[in-house]
């Protein structure tokens, strides 16, 4: 009774609902004032240098904005502005190195990048002279990654199907799951060493693109297993039950209902794994020799690849070879980008409607 009897006037109601806000231009004004303040400080005191001034300006901006907002808008909006500022700053801080890498590679890579660079090899090209290209390395990388994908993706997907559909948290499934987790963090050079000692030294497999592909496949498998597992677990159990209720046997339920439903995610995960190993360098150095000429046969003899090409060209240390190294890095990034984009396209085409 006591609560509902109290009447509030229209003015009181407005007071209750209204909220004073800072005008839209206040952000820019505060930013300008902070920069001006920081410059002033740099000119008058010992705090100097571009980085120092920028940090001072940023701190001034955060302080001024929070203070003013607190006075005019109250605590909730002040905290909101503070948190938003930190979130945006974190985003920018995370993006700066990425953009910087892309720009640096693009700018420095374009020095030696051309159609000729893509269509010629390093055969009979002196490290000191400009010219030459990456055709041999491109062929090597594409073959090695393709073989790695042919080995790694089916193994990974099948292992994940076992874990999710048949393992039922059995001891074996839990052990496999644990080792997959461990393998996800395996340093790539260890995969290379494994192939080198187990297959090349012990079994006498020649150093070749194929040996390199096996080490890449070892690196791919845990990534594929993990992502496929997640995707299969996302398939609602109701769909499996609906299929069983139609008297569809388990293996057909998995092949025709579960995997197609999860296919978008499985494809994306597999392509990300492919993109990840495309840039691996360390295992390739141990498993396939460097070569300056084209070797289209991945099973016999040394084979070049883009990452080892970049490594080799940097090692030569001349202006021309360093230009080639940057151009090779650019080609590698472009290749990975193409792989990623095609993964998205395939995923979109097979998306569940």
């Amino acid at each position: 009774m006591a609560i509902s009897e109290r009447r509030i006037t229209d003015d009181e109601l407005h007071e209750l609902l209204a909220q004073r806000r800072l005008p839209r231009w206040s952000g820019l004004a505060i930013a300008a004032a902070s920069i001006a303040g920081a410059i002033l400080l740099a000119l008058t005191t010992a705090v100097s240098g571009n980085a120092g001034t920028a940090i001072v300006a940023f701190l001034l901006y955060v302080g001024l904005q929070t203070g003013i907002s607190f006075r005019i808008e109250g605590r909730r909006y002040a905290v909101d502005r503070l948190a938003s500022t930190f979130l945006v700053s974190a985003l920018v801080a995370a993006l700066v190195p990425l953009v910087s890498i892309l720009l640096t590679v693009l700018i420095r890579g374009l020095n030696a990048f051309s159609v000729g660079f893509l269509t010629s090899t390093m055969r009979n090209v002196s490290p000191r002279r400009p010219g030459g290209g990456i055709l041999h390395a491109l062929i090597g990388t594409i073959e090695q990654v393709a073989i790695a994908a042919l080995i790694g993706i089916p193994l990974g997907v099948l292992a994940a199907v076992y874990l999710v559909e048949y393992g039922n948290r059995s001891r074996l499934a839990r052990a496999v799951s644990f080792f997959v987790d461990v393998m996800t963090g395996i340093p790539s050079i260890v995969a290379g060493l494994f192939v080198y000692t187990a297959l090349i030294l012990t079994l006498g497999l020649p150093r070749s693109g194929f040996a390199a592909a096996i080490s890449l496949a070892i690196l791919m498998i845990p990534v594929v297993v993990r992502s496929t597992e997640e995707m299969l677990r996302l398939v609602p159990n109701e769909l499996r039950e609906a299929s069983y209720a139609l008297a569809v046997p388990k293996y057909l339920t998995i092949l025709r209902i579960v995997i197609p439903t999860a296919s978008t995610g499985i494809i994306t995960g597999a392509m990300l794994a492919v993109a990840r190993v495309t840039g691996e360098t360390a295992p390739l150095l141990l498993t396939t020799f460097l070569t300056q000429s084209t070797n289209a046969n991945p099973f016999v003899g040394p084979q070049a690849s883009l990452p080892t090409y970049v490594w080799d060209q940097i090692g030569s240390g001349t202006t021309a070879s360093i230009d080639r190294a940057w151009a090779g890095a650019l080609a590698l990034i472009l290749l990975v980008m193409i792989l990623n984009l095609s993964a998205r396209l395939i995923a979109r085409a097979s998306r569940v409607k």
Partner: protein
């Protein structure tokens, strides 16, 4: 078509937990049997034992006998996959396969198992969709995804899918609980038509629905949390709703609890 189901002394376990104890009941052919009772009383569990769907849950098992006419569906030489092709099921939530068109959803139970001629499939699709009162609404867009239909249409699609494999018995686990009243009415009318050909068992939370669609009603109850569910009584729907034999049945249907 249409077969009788005899359940005797059925106990259902999930691991060591006894979910249902001592159920004995008979499901008459070409009639609708409704299972009612409060949540957790085991009515859905019993329903799922009738086509061996409950054993899809890890650790689930039963004791007792379930006869389809004279055949023990838990017999040693019985394949659960074959049981399910004889006893179809419709679930609470409409669950059309998201990767398939309306057409493919209807024939999923046939096409996934063996190659069938297109003309044969065409006639199955039309007959099943007509049987589920959905043909007129979807005949011009059979190639569109099944998940694009409304909830009620999706549920009728699932019924069409279930009857496409020509089962003897149709189990329905709260088929209308996710649907609006108009779609519910459509499904209830459909149940009336389907019982000319099929034996139907329906689990429902909605007592008016049980009264409207069923010929026989079974009331399940539990003594408390963690205790097994039991069949309290089973009789003609008329009798259960007008003059139940047990006090707890009367309390439940008159809304005094549950």
């Amino acid at each position: 078509m249409a077969k009788r189901i005899d359940v005797s002394d059925l106990n259902v376990y999930y691991g060591s937990f006894m979910a249902v104890e001592g159920v004995t009941l008979t499901v008459e052919p070409r009639a609708v049997t409704a299972f009612i009772g409060p949540s957790g009383c085991g009515k859905s569990t019993v329903l799922r034992t009738l086509n061996r769907m409950h054993e899809v849950t890890p650790g689930a098992r039963i004791e007792g006998k379930i006869l389809l006419d004279h055949e023990d569906i838990y017999g040693a030489d019985i394949d659960p996959v074959n049981v399910r092709s004889t006893i179809g099921m419709v679930f609470q939530k409409p669950n059309p396969f998201p990767t398939m068109s309306i057409y493919d959803n209807v024939v999923a139970g046939i096409k996934l198992k063996k190659r069938t001629k297109r003309a044969e499939l065409d006639s199955v699709v039309e007959a099943s969709l007509r049987g589920a009162n959905l043909w007129e609404e979807v005949k011009d867009r059979l190639d569109r995804p099944g998940s694009g239909l409304s909830g009620g249409q999706q549920q009728r699609l699932c019924i069409a899918r279930a009857i496409a494999i020509e089962p003897q018995v149709l189990l329905m686990d709260e088929p209308c609980s996710a649907l609006d009243p108009i779609s519910t009415l459509a499904i209830e009318e459909l149940i009336h038509e389907l019982k000319q050909q099929y034996t139907i068992v329906i689990v429902t939370h909605n007592m008016q629905q049980a009264a409207r669609v069923s010929d026989t009603t079974a009331f399940f109850n539990i003594a408390g949390t963690g205790k097994p569910g039991k069949l309290i009584e089973m009789d003609s729907t008329q009798k259960i709703f007008n003059a139940p034999g047990e006090k707890s049945t009367e309390d439940y249907i008159s809304g005094r609890f549950g």
